[in-house]
Amino acid sequence: MATKASRAAARMMISPSVILLLGWMIIPLSLTIYFSFLRYNLITPTGNPFVGWENYYWFVTDPSFKAAMINTLLLVGGILLITTIGGVIFALLLDLPMFGQGVIRIMVIAPFFVMPTVSALVWKNMFMNPVNGIFGRLATGMGFEPVDFFGQIPLLSIIFIVSWQWLPFATLILFTAMQSLDQEQLEAAEMDGASWRNRFWFIILPHLARAITVVILIETIFLLSIFAEILVTTNGGPGTATTNLTYLIYVSSLLQFDVGMGSAGGVIAIILANIVAIFLMRMIGKNLDA
């Protein structure tokens, strides 16, 4: 089918995409790397001299960097834990025989379509507000002191909100994977007297393993870049309690106008994301061969 002429035509058809993506990748990326070696501040013109690794040195030794790395780790780790375990549970539950399964599935998946700024503000004001929020009222109604979510447990509150957004994603993917499980195998195991726990550990979980890995890798890519939820709820505070790496870079570059410092942070963020991306790409690549 592939003649010489059609090959040439194919190349012509692919080239716009390749050129655009190449530009989108190479131009900003090389500029980030270039800026990261300059003393470059938008409000104090310094002539932008080359300063070597200075920006990296100051960025990494700043106490807020350590805080941001820990927060990033806690955010990603906490949300992954909640969404994958919750997702497996929801996928198993939705697979049970029931009435109105379609409606229930829609209700579970809905939060994924809510834009980040809406979900963050709704949880912050309507639920987590200590006075008028539903959680606050429930606590007061039962005679407890209401929790000031964003004052006392700010990072946990953000983990909770973002988990609500991503649990549907994990559920949807794991539920799709459940559908391809061989029911006969499961029934055979049951007839042979395998307990529910054993069926879960030795048949269901291994079957889901691949989908779970995909969920973890894709979520990690997105969760490393959590931004809007922090911006509208806590602005990274109190102090640096909810500043993650993405937010820290935003502060240095767009609030303090320190292009050099922000770029050094950007390079670090890219390296971090790439470590995860390598594993994800390998999995997807294997699937392409199959």
Binding site: M1, R7, A9, A10, R11, I14, P16, L21, P28, L31, T32, F35, F90, L93, L96, M98, F99, I104, R105, I106, M107, V108, A110, F112, F113, V114, M115, P116, T117, S119, L121, V122, N125, M126, R137, I173, T176, A177, S180, E187, R210, V214, F227, A228, L231, I249, Y250, S253, G265, G266, A269, A273, N274, V276, A277, L280, M281, I284, G285, L288
Partner: protein, 277 residues
């Protein structure tokens, strides 16, 4: 399941899973209710809100009057539809070529395209911001259309590619044997088979662009602000006006919620790059 399950068990499952599903959905339901209340009623205790207060459309009209909701809605539509439209325009030929005229490097090209999606946006925030400033693209809709189009291009190409590879090549050959020329082949054989896949690609990308909240927040101010930015302006102190915040939120998420329900299945394919089907 092949086995017969008693209605009792089915009812029990429905109750348990239904309750959990309801809890997941509750925040959305709650803002839907609050959006039809007055400000005074909206901050009352939940049970009073439900049972002893009237309903009103006041909040919706106030949101429009005070902050020009429709301007931001239009921005969101232009940005989401525009970026998807141009993305599709560029991606269809590429995906078609890779699916039907695969070459030695096709797989590598696909994987490389995917890798551009792995770049964290914050890593290129500074240069993009400066380039936009110098080109006068900050706070313009065209600027966001360009950025979101480039951001989603790898997903569009991948989705289309996976759909196109599912179209059997034999059918095309058969059409050619029957004397169809290239134009007829594309128009009468390929297009009808490709439409469902294209439709879900379009749908998913409109959803992703509509909800995108990194570039839209960082590159817009007053003029080109889409709904993500518009809602962010409620962060304080307007957030304490529950009814207005709810009305604004409902208007911002309703169109996408409806589209999302139609595209659940395609979502899995699009977001996992075909790794889970």
């Amino acid at each position: 399941m092949a086995r017969a399950v008693s209605n009792g068990i089915k009812l029990r499952n429905t109750a348990i899973v239904g309750t959990l599903g309801f809890l997941m959905f509750f925040p959305i339901l709650w803002i839907l209710i609050l959006s039809f209340k007055t400000e005074e009623d909206a901050i009352r205790a939940p049970l009073e809100v439900l049972f002893s207060s009237g309903w009103t459309l006041e909040s919706f009209t106030t949101v429009q009057e005070r902050s020009d909701y429709f301007k931001h809605f239009t921005n969101s539509v232009v940005i989401a539809v525009g970026s998807t439209f141009f993305g599709i325009l560029i991606a269809v030929p590429a995906a078609w070529a890779m699916a039907f005229v695969p070459a030695k490097h096709t797989k590598n090209v696909l994987m490389w395209m995917l890798s551009t999606k792995m770049l964290p946006p914050v890593g290129v925030l500074v240069p993009i911001y400066l380039i936009f400033r110098d080109l006068g693209l900050l706070d313009t809709r065209i600027g966001l259309v360009i950025v979101l189009m480039l951001m989603n291009l790898p997903i569009i190409i991948w989705m289309l590619y996976t759909y196109f590879t599912e179209i059997p090549g034999e059918i095309l050959e058969a059409a050619r044997m029957d004397g169809a020329n290239l134009r007829e082949e594309v128009l009468y054989v390929l297009t009808p088979m490709a439409i469902p896949g294209m439709a879900s690609t379009v749908l998913l990308n409109i959803i992703l662009a509509w909800n995108e909240a990194f570039w839209t927040l960082n590159l817009t101010a007053a003029n080109a602000a889409p709904l993500t930015q518009f809602i962010a302006s409620y962060s304080s102190p307007e957030g304490l006006f529950y009814a207005k915040l709810s009305a604004a939120s409902i208007m911002a998420i309703a169109p996408i919620l409806i589209m999302g329900w139609f595209s659940q299945k395609q979502l899995v394919r699009g977001l996992t790059f075909g790794a889970v089907k």
